[in-house]
Subunit: 279 residues, 2 copies
Amino acid sequence: MIELYELRQFAAFGETGTLSEAAEKLHLSQPAISRNMKKLEDDMGVTLFERSKNKISLNDNGQYLLELAQKLLSDAHDLPLKVREHDRQKHTISLGVCAPAPIWRLASLIANVFPQMTLQTEIDDDKRLLSDLANGIYQLAVLHEKPESNNLIVKECGRESLMFALPKEHRFADRKSLSFADMDGENILLMPNLGFWDFVKNEKMTKTRFLTQSDRYSFTELVQASSLPCFTSDVADKFMEIPSGRANIPISDSEATVTYYLACMADKKKTFEPLFRVI
Amino acid sequence: MIELYELRQFAAFGETGTLSEAAEKLHLSQPAISRNMKKLEDDMGVTLFERSKNKISLNDNGQYLLELAQKLLSDAHDLPLKVREHDRQKHTISLGVCAPAPIWRLASLIANVFPQMTLQTEIDDDKRLLSDLANGIYQLAVLHEKPESNNLIVKECGRESLMFALPKEHRFADRKSLSFADMDGENILLMPNLGFWDFVKNEKMTKTRFLTQSDRYSFTELVQASSLPCFTSDVADKFMEIPSGRANIPISDSEATVTYYLACMADKKKTFEPLFRVI
DNA sequence: CACAATTACGAGGGTCGTAAAAATG
DNA sequence: CATTTTTACGACCCTCGTAATTGTG
C-alpha cells in the first residue's frame, strides 16, 4: 500500500535532486529516504530512478510520478482546510447587499435572531447577487429592485433617501431640496463601495469631480475638515455619526429614494423565517 | 500529518456505517478504527461524527470529508496504474490506420526496426487520426489522403486496389473488371472494421445488402462455405489466406484504388527515420 | 443479552537513526 | 577527501489486537 509519507519523501527528492537534501528538508536521515524510495519503486512496479554508484536521479517514469504525486499531495494538504472551511460556513451567514445602508439594521437583527452565527457581508450588483444567491454563495441578499422569482422569499426591509450634506456656508445650504442636476459640476467628497449608488456618479452627475477616500475613518475626518459637499442619507443619519455643522438637504430626484428587499431561497424559508418575521 | 490508511479506514466506515463493519472489511479490529477515527477528527480540527454512547455516524462535516476522501483515495489508487501505463507507453508504438491493409506490411517492418517495441494498432478516420497524432495518442498514422502540414513527416507506404471476389459460378466471374454499380443490389459478405472503405458501403453501393461477420476466422469460414460475393484486394491477396475457388475481379472505379501515406510528427523525425528509410 | 463503541495495556511491525562501506570526481 | 548512496543493525514509535467496560435496544 502506498502511503503519503512515501510520496512526500519522493516529492522532496524530486524537488531537491539528491537524497541528502530531501532528508534534510524533511528532518530525516538519508538512509531513511533511500530505503523508502526503493520501497516506492517496488510498489510502483517500474523503475523510477537512474542509479549510478553515488548518484541517483529521476528517470522518465519518475518525472511523471513526480507530477502526479505533487498533485495528490496538494489535494491531501487541502483536505483539512476544505473541511474546516466547510465547517466554518455552517456558522456564518453570508449576506450580499446592493448598498451599505441595509447592513446597519440587518446586522443587529441577524445577531439577535442567530446569536451563534457570524455575519459576512459583501457588496455587489443586483444581477450577481441573484445568481450568487441561487448558487449558494449567499444565503441572504438585499436588492433595491423587487425580484420576481417564485423560488425566492422576499420582504421589504427599509427605504433610503439620499441627501446632500452641505457645509453651512454653501450657497444651497438653506434649500429645502436639491436635484442631482443642481449640484452637478461641483467637487464632491465620496466614499467608495457604495454599491448600486454608483449609478449616480456614472449617470446622474457626469460633470462632477468626485474625491474618494476609501478608509471610513479617514473619510469622516476629511468631511469634518473640508468644506466640500458630500452625500449622506436618512438611514446614514440615523445609524452613523454624522459630521456636525452640515445641512442635510433631501434630493428631489425619484432615483434618490429606494426601497430595499431582503431575499433568500425558498428552500431556506424555515431557517430564515425568524429573521423575516422581525423585519 | 494525515495518512492514506486513516482515510481508507474513514472511507470504509463511511461506506459501511459502523466501525465494526469497517473493521471487518479492512481485516482490522474495531478499537483500531475507533482510535484512528478519533485521531483523524483531531487532525481535521472539526467534529466529523455524531456520537452517542453506542452509536456513531457521520455528521455534515464527515459527509463532506467522505466525498473528498473517496476522490483522493481513488486518485491514489490510480497512481501506480498510471505510472505503469506511462512506462508501457514507452515500449509500445501506437499506430493509427485508416484501413486494415497497411498494417500487414508495416507490422513486420516495425518489428524489424524496433525489435523491443510492441505495436498497438487502431482503425479510425483520417480526421481523428490527424488530431490524435497531434496530441500524442498515436506516434504513427496511415492516411489515405496525403496530409498537407509542415509539422508532419509523410511518406507513401503502398497502394491498395479493391476487388470483388466472386465464386466461379457467379455470372460476372469471367469479367476482366467490374464497377461498384455493376454489383450494387447483390447480397455481399462483409468484414466490418474496414476503416475508410466503409464509404463504399455508404455511398457507392447503397442498394446492396451487406452481411457482416465480425470474427476474422469465422469470416473466412463463411466465405468458403457461401456462394455470396465478397471484397478482397491486391494487398489482401498477397498477405492473407485467400478463399480458394474464387475469381478476383478488379474494380474499375477510381475510388477503388488508393495510396496510403505513413505520417509522424516532425519532432519525432529522428525516432522514426529508420522506419521511413525502409518503406 | 447481543451488539456497538470506548478504554487500557501489551505485542509487534516498520520506520527511523547511527555507523560503516563503497564509489565517484 | 568531501560528497553521495547503500547496507547493516539496533532502537523506538506507533499502530494493532486482546480483553474488559459501558451503554443500548
